[in-house]
């Protein structure tokens, strides 16, 4: 059992408010990912949970107990740092057993626990080496091992994979996901990489400038972003965010004027949208298609063949290029004039303030929401 609850948690350095009131409930055994652009306060928030930074205001509870003033080691957490932060003068075994040694655990018991953790992470042959004699991936595994040995209630990860090369990152990502299910532990994971967030999380917390923008499952965030920021941040290739004008709002949805003058009706609740006001149409590249009778006209500017799929960038005269995800066998040519059609029931509309209009019908997001439980 390990739940973490944050209530109006704030952090300031002098006059600067870094974390501006965060409310969050993390369930037992949940894998929660904090994601957001660099400098948005992810690390600060994680370090406040860890006890490495003081909490300026608000309440942090672990397992229902307020721990604002409890020192880091007494919170029952373990943290894995981006820089690994191994003790360079100790062997791998001593690195992993350091916390137990400080806690006065007898050597035999300590060795057994270190061995167990080393077996889980395939570190057994490296136990007598020093960190300097290990590769980056091995060091990262030792850092994770050091966390496992303590059998913490909650694991905290601060961008643990960002110093690894791409191939290793994918491998470690899978390994951490595997650990999460085999250890049945609560994990909080910080990353600026939305792909890591999408692939690993039970729930994603999107942060911007010290505020939560949205909390939800990866698919919730993907299909129903709460605002323009989340829409643009989650998903790769990025969602198309097209500036449009509201023509009329009715019971069935909102009719918008697209670049070039064409119109489209998007089925969202739009009672407060005034005719003539500006809005943003959000549509994923896979929901745009090249088709002769589409409402938007444009010219193909760039074509990226990725093998299994093709990304086509279309200049529609105003606003940013629109990205179209087409099949791997797409015959799109640079310079060709094309028309684009939209899957309107998969599209999002954001009002002048960037907030999403609620869709008329919300599709069930399959069983995927309950992943891992």
């Amino acid at each position: 059992m390990a739940t973490v609850a944050l209530k109006s948690v704030k952090k300031s350095y002098g006059d600067i408010n870094i974390i501006q009131g965060v409310d969050l409930d993390i369930q037992d055994r949940e894998f929660v990912v904090f994601v957001g652009p660099s400098g948005c306060g992810k690390s600060t928030l994680l370090r406040m949970i860890a006890g490495l930074e003081e909490i300026t205001a608000g309440e942090l509870k672990i397992d229902g107990k307020v721990v604002n003033d409890v020192p880091p080691d007494a919170r029952g957490l373990a943290m894995v740092f981006q820089s690994y932060a191994l003790y360079p003068h100790m062997t791998v075994a001593n690195n992993m057993g350091f916390a137990l040694r400080l806690a006065g655990v007898p050597k035999a018991e300590r060795d057994a626990k270190v061995k167990d953790a080393a077996r889980i992470l395939q570190l057994e042959p490296l136990l007598q080496r020093k960190p300097g004699q290990l590769s980056g991936g091995q060091r990262q595994r030792v850092a994770i091992g050091r966390a496992i040995v303590r059998q913490p209630k909650v694991f905290l990860f601060d961008e643990p994979l960002s110093n690894l090369d791409a191939a290793l990152r994918v491998q470690m990502r899978i390994e951490i996901a595997r650990l999460h299910s085999s250890l049945a532990a609560t994990m909080i994971y910080v990353t600026h990489d939305q792909i890591e967030a999408m692939t690993m999380a039970d729930r994603i917390v999107v942060l911007r400038s010290g505020k939560i923008e949205q909390v939800g499952t990866p698919l919730e965030l993907y299909h129903y972003p709460a605002n323009v920021f989340v829409a643009g941040f989650i998903g790769s290739p990025k969602m198309n965010l097209v500036p449009v004008k509201v023509q009329s709002a009715g019971a069935d949805g909102i009719t918008i004027v697209l670049p070039g003058g064409g119109t489209a009706m998007i089925p969202v609740q739009s009672s407060n949208a005034a005719a003539g006001s500006a809005a943003t149409l959000g549509v994923r590249p896979e929901n745009v298609a090249i088709s002769a009778d589409g409402p938007i006209a444009g010219e193909i500017t760039v074509v990226e063949h990725l093998g299994g799929e093709t990304l086509v960038y279309v200049n529609v005269g105003e606003g940013p290029f629109i990205t179209v995800k087409a099949g791997g066998d797409s015959a799109a040519n640079v310079g060709a004039r094309v028309r684009l059609s939209l899957k309107t029931d998969e599209a999002n509309v954001f009002d002048t303030n960037g907030a999403a209009m609620v869709p008329k019908v919300r599709k069930p997001l399959a069983d995927l929401e309950k992943r891992g439980h």
Partner: protein, 273 residues
């Protein structure tokens, strides 16, 4: 344009010239120590002479060399150890938990070294007299500790700053209290730096003359005081003075020679790491 080889030769020549300039007085003193008093002051100076050990005999007869060596060791090593005990926690706090005033504090500590010692000689002397610390080892150790504390804190501070702060944070998560962080992580991790700090502090104490001459006479007198006692009122005896000086600097010269690699390694620690 000078070629690479020419530059190298130029640098080598320059190096030798500087080294000879620095070493000349030492060599001169070493030679004088083995001359008779008459040879030592003869003009033009004699380079070839009959070496004699009579100066050394005279020194050993007149003063307790062994006691002075003992005092020098006890006072310099003692002061250095006490310095480290006080400086390490201070440097730890300043390096890892700096406050708004930490930089000012460091500057202020260093600025105390700019003050001429003679400025506080009279109050120091009076304090020492009334507390009965004149000519005691304890007294001199206290003075040396206070004298070196700023430098030792500064050096430890800069060595500690080389240690990534995440390592200490990981240790905090692992349950290490400040004392354990200091003893189990910081000191071992910056050992070369700590060693060279200690060596430098020992050397500074060993060479210190102002306080030892003014605050000690015989009991607690280290080697520097012993040399000074040879510039006696009966007139200068160059050869004996040289012999005494040679005896005084010999131990630290050997010490410096033996530890020079450690010293250089520590002082360039970080730059090459």
């Amino acid at each position: 344009m000078a070629s690479k080889a020419q530059k190298k030769i130029g640098l080598a020549v320059l190096g030798w010239v500087v080294a000879l300039l620095v070493f000349f007085p030492l060599i001169w003193m070493a030679l004088a120590a083995f001359k008779t008093e008459i040879d030592a002051v003869s003009s033009p100076p004699k380079v070839i002479f009959d070496p004699t050990l009579e100066n050394f005999n005279a020194v050993f007869e007149r003063v307790n060399y062994g006691n002075a060596v003992f005092n020098s060791i006890v006072e310099s090593v003692g002061a250095t150890l006490i310095c480290l005990i006080f400086a390490a926690p201070a440097a730890y706090a300043m390096a890892f938990f700096p406050g708004r005033k930490t930089k000012d504090l460091l500057m202020w500590m260093l600025s105390t070294k700019m003050m001429p010692a003679v400025g506080v000689l009279v109050p120091m002397y009076l304090i020492f007299r009334s507390t009965g610390m004149l000519d005691t080892r304890t007294g001199l150790v206290i003075v040396y500790t206070l004298m070196n504390l700023p430098i030792v804190v500064w050096m430890l501070y800069s060595f500690f700053r080389e240690v990534p702060k995440e390592i200490l944070e990981a240790a905090r998560m692992d349950g290490a209290r400040p004392r354990q962080q200091l003893l189990l992580l910081l000191l071992p991790l910056s050992l070369p730096g700590v060693m060279s700090t200690a060596l430098l502090s020992i050397i500074i104490c060993w060479n210190e003359a102002f306080w030892s001459i003014n605050l000690t006479a015989s009991n607690a007198a280290p080697l520097t005081q012993l040399i000074a006692s040879f510039s006696s009122p009966e007139g200068l005896f160059w050869a004996k003075l040289s012999a005494a000086s040679l005896l005084a600097i010999a131990p630290i010269l050997v010490f410096g020679w033996v530890t020079q690699r450690q010293l250089v390694r520590g002082l360039t620690f970080g730059a090459v790491k």
